[in-house]
């Protein structure tokens, strides 16, 4: 389950509410592209691409406060680095993708909820 949106306390001092909402909205909306690319790379055992995408996802997820997604993506990066068997790689890819969807849903509900 996507955890509570908890980020650097100082980020909210440096950015206004509108900028923050916009940042998270864009992060949520580009998640579909990340999922698609990751799925493509993993299903074709493209290790270098899977590694690069999961590394990217790990960094941004941690920076945006989604620690679970960051951690799952980190595990996928390690498997891709090791050239793990197809099943193992894709199982972890599915875990990451599920968490991506949860994060996407979470952001969308949160922004919707705050608007109303």
């Amino acid at each position: 389950m996507a955890e509570a949106l908890s980020i650097d306390c100082d980020l909210s001092q440096l950015l206004d509410e509108c900028d923050l909402r916009s940042l998270f909205r864009q992060y949520g909306s580009e998640m579909s592209d990340r999922i698609r690319l990751l799925q493509q790379a993993s299903r074709t055992s493209n290790f270098s691409q899977t590694r690069r995408l999961s590394h990217q996802l790990k960094g941004s997820a941690l920076q945006y406060g989604f620690k679970t997604l960051g951690s799952y993506a980190g595990s996928l990066e390690r498997l891709a680095e090791q050239g793990a068997p197809f099943c193992e790689l894709n199982l972890q890819t599915d875990t990451v993708i599920n968490e991506c969807l949860l994060v996407q849903k979470y952001i969308s509900e949160l922004l919707e909820c705050n608007r109303s």
């Binding site: 955890e3 509570a4 949106l5 908890s6 980020i7 650097d8 306390c9 100082d10 980020l11 909210s12 001092q13 440096l14 950015l15 900028d19 923050l20 940042l23 864009q26 992060y27 580009e30 690069r52 590394h55 990217q56 996802l57 790990k58 960094g59 941004s60 941690l62 920076q63 945006y64 406060g65 979470y106 509900e109 949160l110 909820c113 705050n114």
Partner: protein, 379 residues
Amino acid sequence: MNDRVLIVDDDPGMLRLLSGVLTKRYSIRTATSGEDAIEIHNKWCPDVVLLDLVMPGIDGFEVCRQIKADKKAASPQVIIVSVNSGAEDMHAAFAAGADDYFVKPVRACELLSRIQLHMRLREALISPHASSSLLSEDGSISNAETLKEVTATQDIAVFAMTKLAETRDNETGEHLFRLRDYSLRLSQELQTSPTLMSHITEEFLRDIYRASPLHDIGKVGIPDRILLNPGRLTASEFDVMKRHTIMGAGILEQAAHQSNAGSFLQMAIDVARWHHERWDGSGYPDGLSGEEIPLPARIVAVVDVYDALTSERPYKPSWESERAREYITERAGTQFDPEIANCFDRCFADIEAIQRKYTPVDAKRAPVVRPQLALVAAS
């Protein structure tokens, strides 16, 4: 907004976030690949580069090397922002010429402060360079005003570099003041030593006062999990920690290369690299012994140990000053230069006075807390 920051990251989410934080303070350009970063650097000449390491094509290490090797312009300060937290990556980044290293997730306020420090540091490093036209043919500074100006900019550089190390360490600012004053007082005492007095000129005293606080600058390259570890370090962690000497000297060599800062930076390089060497050759990083160890490093070795012993650490209480004095004198000729240990003993009353001057009444320091605040209530 004249100060320029180039942000290099292949993740659009990271680029947006960092740009959002910096855009009201600096002029910003972004690049999503190493190739683009080098092209923008060549055309736009940024002051600071925030650089990711893992990217398609040319990676961050190579970008850093190429930027730092460009002799056409004074190179920008390069701050690595990477999710890789391993000592190997940090070491490789500093070896490639990086000036600082942040592990994602970065705290935005800390990043801003460090960028500001790097801007000041760069300005200070460039200024003496720019005023080199005022040097006379033999390289000496031609008038008093220029000397004053160059010294002032060097002091800004020292301050900025020292702050960089201090922001990562649990040491208090007082440690650096104490160390600086201990080093100066002990050096003055060496002026009475028949064997060492000839080395201690007025210039030496000025240089050690300014160079000694930089002894631990290399700690910027030590991972937090080791640097901020409240317990005793394991053997492998200690091996990583030892690298701060080499990294510190590397950082200062680069600063010396970029500026016209003269003798004090050379002294700072010697101190940073060799302040953990021992008189009997059992120290690190190079196992130098006796007078192979440069004199300023032998001086700082004594006062740094004294300050460590008399300061509280998470794993030990502070020692009484007399006990620490005995520790130093007992190790004269093994750990420490016997003549310097002897001088330390002779001026001990003044050392204690400096210690009292810079030790706050409430010597206990609150642990560093990194608060997290829920931005939006959890559903």
